[in-house]
Symmetry: none
Subunit: 417 residues, 2 copies
């Protein structure tokens, strides 16, 4: 069933507020099984909203409106929709009682504007607001269903989840269910991933495969339509298997809220081993990324930021001659940094970073040249050269992600031995 | 002049991504003097995008499209717009050279998809992408102007500010010139700033004052319309003076591309003094923020991340008894961390962080409790207690911003003495 979302509010068109309601509602509607084809923002203007309603009902069976249910004069959504469907506005007694109670408590006089928030559309179903005063409505006619929700996310979210979602589920044909799985990849760009999977993606209508690029990683969302959850899972397992045959080397984990660092910390915790780091160009970005994961204190105790050559000598005891001979951006210095930090912190693993963040070159190396050292208590030390590009921040972020990848592979590799 | 924004991307309709581009563009367009009447999101579907273009050009003179310029087959914006305006797609040599350089560096083979990113619409103006590979276009015909921008905010924002905004300004009636000035504030929330400046903001039509909240800071964009640049600057000076009378205590700098860390590093470089840090809950985020500024190596040599109590003892020589007596989250430990790090690195300033990032409490302190220590070669050591809120990442970011603010005030204060 096709759906669209209309957010009403001039503040959105002025860029004062981010339209997170559309994101929330889109995700919820997709999970229910609606196909959301449009999100639109329109200002507090009756004529433009009416035009949009006329358009929307030609292309969608469900029109979700958010915003414009408040007490002020520019809150016009319920008036415009009621006029559009040729119905009256009626006062809902439950909502009105809540408003009266609120006004009495606050000791303010009741105004006509306060009373407006208890209005809903005649012949519609009132939707109570668990977290505010404005009542919502679900109104259905032969054209479409209209769901009216308040604008503040703190009201809209609980109202949707508790009171609107069950009513919407009833609108849907009950034979089909949608189930999604997100696969995450590191070390392969979006365009290459899509090229490698071209046959699979193009041939697929159910499940669908949707790639999405984020900085330094790519996700694939697999979505299956089926009669039961078990059937959907079998379909997802099957398509996942085909994806893995082609690009499995780059796969690292599942889920929207996952990340390479979360997976790496999970692996470390699983094996009960610790990590430290010595960072030059990244200046703490690797360790602060580790620090973003709750519970990291079990596997990470601290480390070093040795931005200058002097700091490499003073904090880690790297010999000045080694730096003079090979340069700070070298395999030798990367290996020494990793091993000295590991010994100083008495940790199982250590990752080091030395390179050129840019924009200027250093020691004759262009921006983006980065050596990453990996020291392991059991398997010794090595370093790997990378050439990243784009700007300073992207280079630093790329180095951190590559460091996490090396660490994760080291843990997995040692587990396999 | 009426404008509308069309964001193209199925990921937006699935609720996987928040449409912050619409917010950013709305604010920028309003500041330039465009009236934004609609924001729409449509999926990666040529027919629906074409329908929307037909509708948009009946109601808007400027249509800004974002997203769908990437390398994959579902990146269809430039194809659909070119077909809509009956023009060919042509390869831009500058963009193509950049893609070739990128592909060569990465050592991947060039694919047809990579080449697509260099395409722009014939008879349009190519807009180069300072932070990515996809070229944009500004195309004008008798119906409307079409601006094509990439979807990733990290590309869209610099591309808009550096290369698109000046071209859009030329579209506006030329009898009047628009000049903007961005003022940046730390330590005051958006709602309080707006409340304090309510009379000024409401009474103002020229210059306009537009507030914009970012994480842990607020900016005000002052925009004057005038016949000459000199006249506009005089108007901006006047309104800035009035703003400063009310909220000047929180002002720290000018400009869209500025930041508290850039201003702080600039101050350090101006006085030729150095800084180090010892970080517990922030785990390197303060130093990595310093490291984001090019040229920071003049004033920052390195420092410590002492996440565990043992690391505080081992790396900084904090006595175990001091931690046992006062707790790791204490004024005493914050001061000792700052001073020991300063001495170890022989730097002029040192900032320390010890506190509770959450989600769990620590030593009986709730998440968000943070002591920040400030050590100065000339003025001794002190520490200040903060209570931040929201989630783990926001607490860590808030602590870093507060640390930068304390450092900047320390430098400015000592300069005044």
């Amino acid at each position: 069933m096709k759906a669209e979302i209309i957010a009403v509010g001039t503040e959105l068109l002025l860029g004062q507020v981010v339209n997170t309601n559309a994101t929330f509602l889109s995700e919820e509607l997709a999970a229910l099984g609606f196909e959301v084809y449009y999100q639109t923002v329109v200002g507090d203007n009756p004529a433009r909203l009416e035009e949009l309603l006329q358009l929307a009902e030609t292309r969608s069976q469900l029109i979700v409106l958010c915003g414009g249910l408040g007490p002020t004069d520019d809150d016009l959504t319920r008036d415009v929709v009621a006029k559009h469907v040729k119905e009256a506005l009626i006062t809902d007694e439950e909502a009105m009682a809540k408003i009266e109670q609120h006004i009495n408590r606050a000791g303010h006089p009741m105004t006509a504007n306060n009373r407006r928030q208890a209005l809903s559309i005649e012949h519609g179903r009132v939707i109570q607001n668990p977290n505010g005063l404005a009542a919502g409505t679900l109104y259905q006619n032969d054209q479409a269903s209209f769901l009216l929700l308040p604008g503040p996310p703190g009201e809209l979210i609980p109202m949707f989840r508790q009171n609107a979602r069950p009513l919407l589920a009833e609108l849907l044909p009950q034979q089909e269910l949608l189930s999604s799985r997100v696969m995450r990849f590191f070390g392969i760009g979006e365009s290459r991933l899509v090229t490698e999977l071209a046959d699979l993606i193009e041939g697929q209508t159910n499940p669908t495969i949707a790639p999405y690029a984020q900085p330094n990683e790519v996700t694939l969302r697999l979505t299956a339509k089926a009669a039961t959850e078990a059937e959907a899972q079998t379909m997802l397992d099957h398509i996942e298997h085909q994806v893995m045959l082609t690009v499995g080397d780059y796969f690292y984990g599942y889920g929207d809220d996952n990340s390479l660092v979360a997976e790496t910390v999970k692996e470390l915790r699983a094996v009960g081993l610790t990590v430290t780091s010595a960072e030059s160009l990244t200046a703490g970005l690797f360790q602060s990324t580790l620090g973003s994961v709750p519970g990291v204190s079990e596997v990470y105790k601290g480390g070093f930021i040795t931005y200058s050559n002097q700091a490499k000598q003073d904090l880690l005891g790297i010999p000045a001659e080694l730096i003079a001979k090979h340069g700070a951006v070298s395999r030798e210095v990367a290996m020494a940094m990793a091993e000295e930090a590991r010994l100083a912190m008495d940790s199982d693993y250590s990752i080091s970073f030395t390179g050129v963040a840019g924009p200027d070159e250093l020691e004759g190396h262009p921006a983006g040249t980065v050596w990453i050292g990996v020291a392991s208590k059991d398997s010794g030390v090595y370093a790997k050269l990378f050439q990243f590009n784009r700007d300073r921040q992207y280079i630093r972020h790329s180095a951190v992600m590559a460091g996490l990848d090396l660490l994760r592979k080291q843990i997995l590799g040692e587990k396999l031995q």
